[in-house]
Symmetry: C2
Subunit: 440 residues, 2 copies
């Protein structure tokens, strides 16, 4: 899936045109989004690790070249050159887990225009998906107020790549882990699992299913809602009572009125003396439903999120773009209605007061501005810089600190009406105005 | 991405428990969804081809086994057996492109329970994504009323797998092709491309950019909205006027009021005598916006769909499930609140009157019912059956005929309030009632 051919046809036709025109100057492309979707007051940037891996390995294989030849759009000279293309540029980016706002560059690619153009599709694809997903996960984590949340959504993520990357960006944003084994192995994420209804159904009676599973997996979680939730809880109590030494860590509720069922389940377990058996809930959960359950003091100890989380149902897309802002040392813009680009290579600075973020300025990369710069160099001449190759737990801590430093209103699940202050520096405003006067 | 480890932890813990209990009977699992999302009156089934490929190659690699060993949940005996597991079962399914309704089995897996359980996550992941996407695409195609629609959404699909599979299911449902080269190569789909704003921006003036591109690619499409759409159109006219023999097939509008701009563009081109230059539109399009443009008689000849299409923004998920309905020859059910399963291996029959679908019945596989059966055998003993290995163009024709045979109200983009009649046979109703009386 890391094929260089994972690109749009026009990237390659433009590349040939750049070559035909001997346009080999350095381009600066910036990845950013223009607008926060409804229900989001910030975006958590993610996906950089996959982007850097892709850039390091970027190469058209002989079979790719062969396919392109068959399109009858490309000269032999170009195809020969294309086979030799590697990514030789520099990349600046905000670290994964950084919270970002509209128009702030997330990834800045500085490379010969042909190279920078060819990688667009993959760069946007990964930064988009993983930022959408980390942003959703950060909200789910906030809603759970310290309770554990696990990703159970692999089956309804949009394809295998999304399932894996959503597990990763979920963990980045503070989820406890994933049910997906491949994701857990690839990214070193804790893996979780309970049991499915099919297991219970396959036995001739529910109690036997619980017994078989709990004997094999001491400390497991039993799914109690296959036939009747509270009767399932009674069976767990019966099993624990008649089998001294059997360890069951939790019961899982997966349907119905989770709040009421959790309270009734807790009462049953406590009366029977099984106060240590926890309650795990799933079924259509997202940040809104988790927050409602937590607000209602429901005795739920941990949550699993699936469909609504993995597809980021309320905001499945950002208008993530990858735009040329400089070529051959000159600022470039675009004035299309509603889609203006701020020209020139940029930096973002963030001001902090008493540990809380108070405002950002999008400035020229060479401008002296007050605040901490967000963009840092992460790749030089096509090679990752070692110092920025953060491991996932480190990025996860960074991500948590980022959310902790947001103004309280921005952390609220409901739209507070308040937006985070981001302005554009005098230098950038001046450059845009100049280009507006004579765009071409 | 076709790794057997693309599964949830609980599938493997359950597998070990089945083995420990010597439960090796045949299971029947059915994949279906329970509810149409708002804004959908049917679902177009897709993803079968990837499912069958996965099942044929299903195998845990030594490195997978090694990872599982490290989890300290599995016995050596089980891990040795697991390494030998292949998928040896049968599969029945509706052909890709078939329109389906709530509770109708889309894919039916009949295999030893351990095998059928292990493949759940992948089966649901692919049928879900591709059916979500084909269903969205079918609506987009309807809205365009014969005008060409192309997928330009790779960059904002949820990851690389989704980008590829959405391109495929879009083509299945009637899109003309995709911009994604890898998808086009993998699935033999026509590939399309125009030019990006970055290309125009990189030149010192717009006219030079148009000239360079059109010279290199006779019959290309020029993107005219980088600075000012109608001025861009004027430049194309200037270029065509002063360069006899230069061929430009279309101009592309990518921002602003597409309807008004298309009309003004058409007028300018026609006055200048370039009636043959077509208009191609993109920018935030989905079936609703395309329908509005078509209804308004906007002179747009072709559309590109991106973000809203690739993420299926208005309905990014279905409650797709994979449920045990039979084990060891006995019907199985589940009575969880709002999530009842109809027991037993099933068939769906569809009645047709004067070429239009009039109603379906979900029956027992062995029941005699009036209508055409939808589920056909597609895999026997773990091997694909040759006759059902349809090529994509054949499936695409099938998909088109399916939509053509839907009652008119179901083809409407707006919710007509009418639902397609699907009932449950007396045999299935009886089996459910019997299990309801004594579930376990």
């Amino acid at each position: 899936m890391n094929s260089a051919l994972f690109t749009d046809l026009y990237e390659v036709t433009m590349a040939q045109a750049y070559m035909a025109q001997r346009m080999s100057g350095t381009a600066v492309f910036e990845t950013f989004f223009r607008k926060l979707p409804h229900g989001r007051s910030y975006v958590m940037a993610a996906g950089l690790s996959d982007v850097l891996g892709f850039l390091e390995r970027f190469q058209f294989l002989p079979s790719d070249i062969e396919y392109l030849r068959g399109l009858r759009l490309f000269s032999e000279e170009f195809l020969h050159s294309l086979a030799e293309v590697r990514f030789t540029g520099d990349v600046w980016a905000v670290p994964e887990g950084t919270v970002v706002f509209p128009n702030e560059p997330i990834v800045q690619v500085i490379a010969p225009i042909l190279e920078a153009q060819l990688v667009e599709t993959f760069v946007v694809n990964q930064i988009h998906l993983q930022s959408v997903s980390a942003s959703k996960a950060a909200r789910v984590v906030e809603a759970a107020r310290g309770r554990k949340v696990v990703d159970f959504g692999a089956r309804r993520a949009h394809g295998t790549d999304a399932a894996l990357k959503v597990a990763r960006s979920g963990y980045l944003a503070g989820l406890a882990g994933t049910s997906n084994l491949l994701a857990a192995r690839m990214f070193g994420i804790p893996v979780f699992g309970t049991m499915a209804h099919s297991f219970v159904q396959a036995f001739d009676n529910e109690l036997d299913a619980f017994d078989a599973f709990a004997q094999l997996y001491p400390g497991t979680t039993l799914l109690v809602d296959t036939y009747d939730t509270l009767r399932g809880v009674d069976l767990v109590i019966e099993l624990l009572t008649k089998t001294p030494g059997l360890e069951v860590a939790a019961v899982r509720l997966d349907s119905g009125d989770l709040g009421a069922l959790a309270k009734a389940t807790r009462a049953k377990l406590d009366v029977a003396g099984f106060n240590h058996v926890a309650i795990f809930a799933s079924s259509g959960l997202d940040e809104y439903r988790i927050a409602a359950l937590v607000d209602d003091d429901c005795p739920i100890d941990a949550f699993a999120v699936g469909t609504k989380f993995v597809v980021a149902e309320d905001a499945p897309a950002l208008d993530m773009a990858y735009k040329l802002v400089e070529y051959g040392g000159t600022g470039r813009t675009k004035l299309s209605s509603g889609k203006v680009i701020y020209p020139g290579r940029k930096q973002v600075v963030r001001r902090v007061d008493q540990g809380i973020f108070t405002g950002d300025t999008i400035g020229r990369a060479d401008e002296q501005l007050d605040g901490e710069p967000l963009l840092v160099p992460v790749m030089k001449n096509g090679r990752r810089l070692a110092h920025c190759d953060l491991d996932l737990p480190t990025s996860r801590n960074w991500a948590r600190q980022q959310v902790d430093r947001l103004p309280a209103q921005l952390r609220s699940l409901e739209d507070s009406g308040r937006t985070y202050p981001v302005d554009v520096s005098p230098g950038v405003a001046r450059d845009l105005e100049r280009l507006r006067q004579s765009p071409t």
